[in-house]
């Protein structure tokens, strides 16, 4: 029992690790991420190499043991920015191995509650970012948006934007995690890639005009007699405002 395990940070990597742990009923003390080939730096740390074939078999087993809703909770928990996300998934799977599909209803179990609550937070943030993305039209016809979400939600919002703006070249850049979605209008495909930006985007004249229109519209819309800044702040937290056109810098 116990032990300190490392994987490469990918979902496949985590599944490989879990595929090793499950049959042995091991609950690690810690699961962390190491860049490959650095595993020998610490004594007592086991690095598990990602194994695509093993992952496929293991995923098949997972789908037999856990209902689709549970699997989405696992995926979303994996995307959460939380130090214990891997351990939460691990505990959840061990319980699933014990009780089978009954786990779907065990919402108040101490190994289940943290998982669905965290998954719900991730889903909630992804939903809010469907609204909080602001594209800017740059020279060359590319629409660029920068966001800074708490969790790694890009893969959750990409299908929404791909369906909605299928006729646009666009990029959504997650500044907090250094990655971005790139959508290709011609091939109707999107990819998540590592991303850095080293220059301010070069805005078209139409972009400048629409931003001014939007700001003026947004200011007009508020009813002064009903001002409620506390409510506004709970809905639009300060940390998302730097990326929103309608809030002054």
């Amino acid at each position: 029992m116990g032990g300190d395990y490392r994987y490469d940070g990918t979902f496949a990597g985590l599944l490989t690790l879990l595929a090793h742990l499950m049959p042995e009923r091991i609950l690690p003390d810690a699961i962390g991420i190491d860049p490959p080939h650095q595993q020998s730096l610490f004594a007592g740390v086991t690095f598990i190499e990602t194994d695509k074939e093993l992952v496929e078999d293991f995923w098949g087993e997972l789908t037999k043991r856990i209902a689709p809703a549970g699997l989405s909770h696992i995926r979303r928990t994996f995307l959460a920015e939380h130090p214990e996300r891997e351990l939460m998934i691990c505990r959840y799977l061990q319980l699933a191995w014990e009780v089978g599909k009954k786990i779907g209803g065990m919402l108040a179990h101490p190994h289940v509650t943290p998982l669905w609550k965290l998954s719900q937070q991730v889903a909630g943030e992804a939903h809010r970012y469907k609204g909080f993305v602001r594209f800017q039209e740059t020279g060359g016809g590319l629409f660029y948006a920068a966001i800074s979400p708490g969790h790694r939600i890009l893969s959750l919002i990409a299908p929404h934007f791909a369906a909605r703006f299928s006729d646009q070249h666009w990029v959504i850049h997650d500044m907090a995690h250094g990655e971005g979605i790139v959508h290709d209008r011609l091939r109707r495909e999107w990819l998540i890639l590592p991303m850095v930006i080293n220059a301010e985007p070069d805005l078209t004249p139409a972009e400048v005009r629409f931003q001014a229109l939007w700001r003026s519209y947004f200011t007009t819309l508020a009813i002064a007699e009903r001002e409620n800044l506390r409510l506004q702040r709970s809905k639009v937290p300060l940390k998302v405002r730097p990326w929103l056109v309608e809030f002054p810098k």
């Binding site: 209803g105 939903h127 629409f143 939007w214 819309l221």
Partner: protein, 430 residues
């Protein structure tokens, strides 16, 4: 676009902002080789400094009006600048904002120029341009103009996701007093027509999916609260009838804000926001909790309690039904417990199949124990710490009790849990 667009936008947005409807939910439209789609759960894009969400580009086509309704900022006798947008300008603005993901779609309303039919045709032309020339598949909410030709109403419903016509005042008498140019029939007539068109359309579409959809997100309406002397009983009963008879998706309530001085209007500037909030709570009880209007209010107490939410108020009047055993009560009974909502009731039903639930489990499932504790038992255990007496309970519920015995479990996560946004909030959004 010239800079005068900026000015027109400011004037026309200011005229439209008192309409509280903002929902972008309830419709599902795929992007067919164009731009945009409608997400069935609705998406909010921002919140203004009054805490209201921005989902649709809420705009008047024009603020000119041939009517002279006392409560309205655009009334004929009000001395203000009048402007009008062309259908092409409306479409261009909508697409420009939509491409940048500022909005979920368009909410187009208007003052009445020349005649109801002429005005309705202007609105339809703007929406037609969007749908056909820009191939826009996003959400469109279109206002129907009272008195417009039924053929135009039908045309509007075929282009829009949701149509609405505002009742504004709950009774005929109030309407005659404050909006002498509008008759009740000119509002209820189109509402009835839209409802029957929706029913017919649904039947036709069940036979063939090729039949175009008519107002897939249904219709809504708005009532102004506090401009006239109606009781909450009258308002809630009216809403219930609108939901049952015309299958309305939403009735919005707008606390009256005096924007123009008029001797027919109540004096003073205090807007009844608390009352508006209680009405929304009652509205939710009608739509999602299986309550009827007569259970919430009656002739003896025709107004909602400002200190207490309507569900708790109902529970205190029916203490003979409580406490409810959480492991045995059926779903309908759970929904009627103060502190248990639609989602926590569902979770309880799901979770108790896998074993009896204890008191400590309930907070984890999202039950608000602050209220629920007085009305439930779990495995026979009651933690209200108080006899089932409405006066005692009322005091505890209003004053609140100091936390004791770790009843409200802290969760092992640092951030507060947000429930799914797809369920609209009491502030009237979505």
């Amino acid at each position: 676009m010239a800079s005068d667009i900026m000015e027109k936008l400011a004037i026309l947005a200011a005229g439209a902002k008192y309409d509280v409807s903002c929902a972008s939910s309830g419709s599902f439209r795929r992007n067919k080789e164009g731009i945009g789609n409608a997400a069935s759960c609705g998406i909010c894009h921002s919140w203004t400094s009054d805490g209201r969400c921005v989902s649709l580009l809420k705009l008047l086509m024009t603020n000119s009006c041939i009517y002279d309704c006392a409560y309205c900022i655009n009334r004929r006798s009000n001395d203000s600048r009048r402007v009008i947008l062309t259908p092409a300008e409306v479409a261009e603005l909508t697409i420009g904002f939509y491409r940048r993901n500022y909005i979920e779609g368009l909410f187009l309303s208007t003052g009445v120029v020349r005649s109801p039919d002429y005005t309705m045709e202007l609105l339809i032309e703007a929406v037609r341009t969007l749908r056909q020339e820009y191939r826009f598949n996003g959400y469109i909410h279109l206002k129907l103009v009272p008195g417009a030709d039924p053929l135009l109403v039908e045309k509007a419903g075929l282009l829009a996701d949701r149509v609405s016509i505002n009742l504004e005042l709950p009774t005929r008498e109030s309407l005659a007093l404050l909006a002498p140019d509008k008759s009740r029939e000119s509002v209820v007539g189109p509402m009835r027509q839209v409802n029957s068109l929706i029913v017919v359309n649904r039947e036709e579409r069940s036979v063939s999916r090729r039949v175009p959809r008519f107002a897939p997100a249904g219709q809504s309406t708005q009532l102004i609260v506090g401009a006239t002397s109606e009781s909450d009983l009258q308002i809630v009963t009216l809403s219930e009838q609108l939901y049952n008879r015309f299958a309305l998706k939403r009735v919005y309530y707008s606390a009256f804000i005096p924007v123009v001085a008029d001797t027919r209007l109540p004096a003073g500037s205090t807007s009844p926001h608390r009352r508006e909030h209680r009405l929304y709570q009652a509205d939710w009880l009608l739509r999602y909790y299986g309550f009827s209007a007569f259970e919430l209010l009656d002739e003896g107490s025709p107004n909602l309690d400002m200190e207490l939410d309507p569900k708790t108020g109902w529970a205190l009047r029916h203490l003979e039904l409580f406490p409810v055993e959480i492991n045995r009560a059926d779903h309908e009974e759970l929904l009627r417990v103060p502190g248990i909502g639609v989602r926590s009731a569902q979770r309880i039903v799901r979770a108790r199949r896998q074993g009896h639930l204890g008191i400590d489990d309930l907070a984890k499932l999202g039950v608000v124990m602050k209220r629920a504790r007085y009305f439930i038992t779990a495995r026979g255990r009651y933690i209200g710490g108080c006899a089932m007496d409405s006066r005692l309970l009322l005091r505890k519920l209003i004053v609140g009790v100091p936390q004791q015995g770790g009843m409200q479990m802290e969760l092992p996560l640092s951030r507060p849990v947000k429930s799914d946004e797809c369920i609209g909030l009491v502030s009237g959004e979505l």
